[in-house]
Amino acid sequence: MADATGTAFLETLVGFGRALRAAGLPVGTGDVQTYCAAMEPLDPTDLLDLYWAGRTTLVGRREHLPVYHRVFREWFLGVPGEPDEARPFNRPDAPEAWADLQLPEPERSGEEREQQEAPMGLVGSDVATLRAKSFADCTPDELAALRRIMRTVRLTPPRRRSRRTAPAVDGRRPDLRRTVREALRTHGDPATLRWRERRVRPRRLVLVLDVSGSMADYSRALLQFAHVTSRAARRVEVFCFGTRLTRITRELEHRRPDDALARAADAVVDWEGGTRIGASLDAFVREWGRRGIGRGGIVVICSDGLDRGDPALLESAMRRLARRCHRVVWLSPHAGSGGPPSLGMTVATPYVDRLLPARDLDDLERFARTLAVLG
């Protein structure tokens, strides 16, 4: 390769990397270097080589493949890609089926908050009433206040014994390494046996939140709760569904609650659309459950059970789900309210280990306490 063309070629590759970055892929300088190095022994005039070498060096996630494909076509073939084609999951089926999520007011800075709270006396209601106030009746300001209280909720998923061991005073497995080390002192007499014991670790927690129309008044609060939860405990996965399932674990990882909630809201397209609980749980079991995301974990479904889909589908999804995780907890805003259970609830209940109310903050705190002792 001549020097001049070589430089031009490298610039093309670097530009491609930049275009990918502009399209939202996390492509680092090191990745582009690897790409250039990978092309060295390959044929720069061969589009297939360009495509596959780039794909293996610049993309690290299956979800990014469609974007890569589109940018590649644009960059090397000059074919304008359709943005929709590249992001099939973000295309709403029917525009009227979803509306923007109204997020709680952004957190105010400390000083601002004081100014606001002084005249309003913590948004006009004291903490005790707020705790027992149904999420459905809360104003955005009250929800923001609730969020601050939620942060104090301690969530400790039940624990299970791990296969990993740690040194222990007493145990079942001898710790040969420590024993031998100490035997040096006694000239090879293993005078005291040291032990190891299996460690315990918290079970994984999977939250599956219903954000459909009938749950609209609760979903904001539940999402806040999910964010607090994912910050409070390790190994938490969060999913949302209305008509379809979306994983929002990564979106919620953001430290600032407002950013995290906004990102999650962007990721979920069917806020307040219809409900297809059966289909969504079925998708969860197929997509994630089968790969073991719930294995040994606690799956928490937050929904009112108002399903517009086929009850048989919900039944089979729940049956599979119950077999693939340790415990199923169902939080419903209407549980324990005395009303007749919805059809969805009736179908799902046999497979649920605990059915708990989730109408207000007191309920969520009760759930947090129950969770810790859920064997």
């Binding site: 190095a37 596959w52 293996t56 024993t179």
Partner: protein
């Protein structure tokens, strides 16, 4: 054996070894070999992620070193372990005076008493090895951290001995079924390839290469049936491995054709979920029509 000269050459070599790789997988493997980078393969169960590592080892004339990951796997099982029994014997054999000598104690934690586990074995073998770190997603996230040094530097640090480095790095292949997201730090050190189901004709070819005894007609019918199974709404769609298993099973029972009764009798080779079996039983006639 030397490295293949081009992607096409590698594809051919793999084919001769009984593995039909598509262009993407060949390129990924070729780049991994030329740049000495680990290759992370993700894909559905049974699409041949593990198999490619085995075949690469065979056709490149390298030794396959396999580390099957599981929860709780730690350095003692993956990297190295001290031979405690021999250490104890050695201490007892030494006199008190000898024990006072620093060198004697150092020797206790020297190479002589070190038991190799797969990762250390691979680093020592260097480019004579293909290291397969299988189902890395099954290990817990703590274990990923152990792998980082190995994957970026092809070296292992043992506190008592020092750093052991591969002079010429082994080919490292990691596979994951995506039961959980791998850490970005791990992914950054690897090339990435998503292994898809092969298309119809390729899958027929794969069956014929793996089971040369089978007739092409039967192979085509089985692949057609499996393709149909993947379209059915099954909890666990059959992979290529299942296709081959099914053909093998048909061979074992001496079936020359895929009639409804044979499907009924042998479906256990392909579908291994009770709920799925119910779905499949309703479609037996479609499957046997081919």
């Amino acid at each position: 054996m030397t490295r293949p000269a081009s992607v096409a050459a590698l594809t051919e070599t793999l084919c001769a070894g009984g593995y039909l790789a598509d262009r993407g997988l060949s390129t990924a493997a070729y780049v991994a070999l030329t740049l000495d980078r680990p290759l992370l393969l993700e894909g559905e169960v049974g699409v041949g992620k593990t198999e490619i590592a085995k075949t690469l080892a065979t056709v490149l004339g390298r030794r396959l070193i396999r580390l099957q990951c599981y929860e709780g796997i730690d350095t003692n099982q993956a990297l190295y372990e001290w031979d405690y029994a021999r250490q104890l014997l050695q201490i007892r054999a030494l006199s008190e005076a000898a024990l006072a000598d620093e060198g004697a104690v150092d020797a206790l934690f020297g190479p002589k008493f070190l038991l190799e586990r797969p990762l250390l074995d691979a680093v020592r073998t260097g480019d004579g090895a293909v290291l397969l770190v299988d189902e890395v997603d099954r290990a817990d996230d703590e274990f990923e951290a152990f792998l980082l040094e190995l994957l970026s530097e092809f070296q292992i640090t043992i506190p008592e001995i020092g750093t052991i480095r591969a002079e010429r790095p082994p080919l490292v292949v990691l596979t994951s079924n995506r039961t959980r997201e791998l850490h970005d730090a791990l992914k950054r050190r690897c090339l990435y390839h998503w292994v898809d189901y092969p298309d119809f004709d390729r899958e027929v070819e794969i069956v014929l290469v793996r089971e040369p005894g089978v007739s092409e007609t039967l192979a085509r019918r089985v692949v057609a049936a499996v393709t149909r199974l993947r379209e059915l709404d099954l909890a666990k769609a059959p992979g290529v491995a299942e296709t081959i298993d099914w053909v093998r099973t048909l061979g074992a029972v001496g079936a020359a054709d895929l009639d409804p009764q044979t499907v009924e009798d042998t479906i256990g080779a392909v579908v291994k979920d009770r709920d799925d079996l119910d779905v499949v039983r309703a479609h037996v006639h479609e499957l046997s029509r081919g």
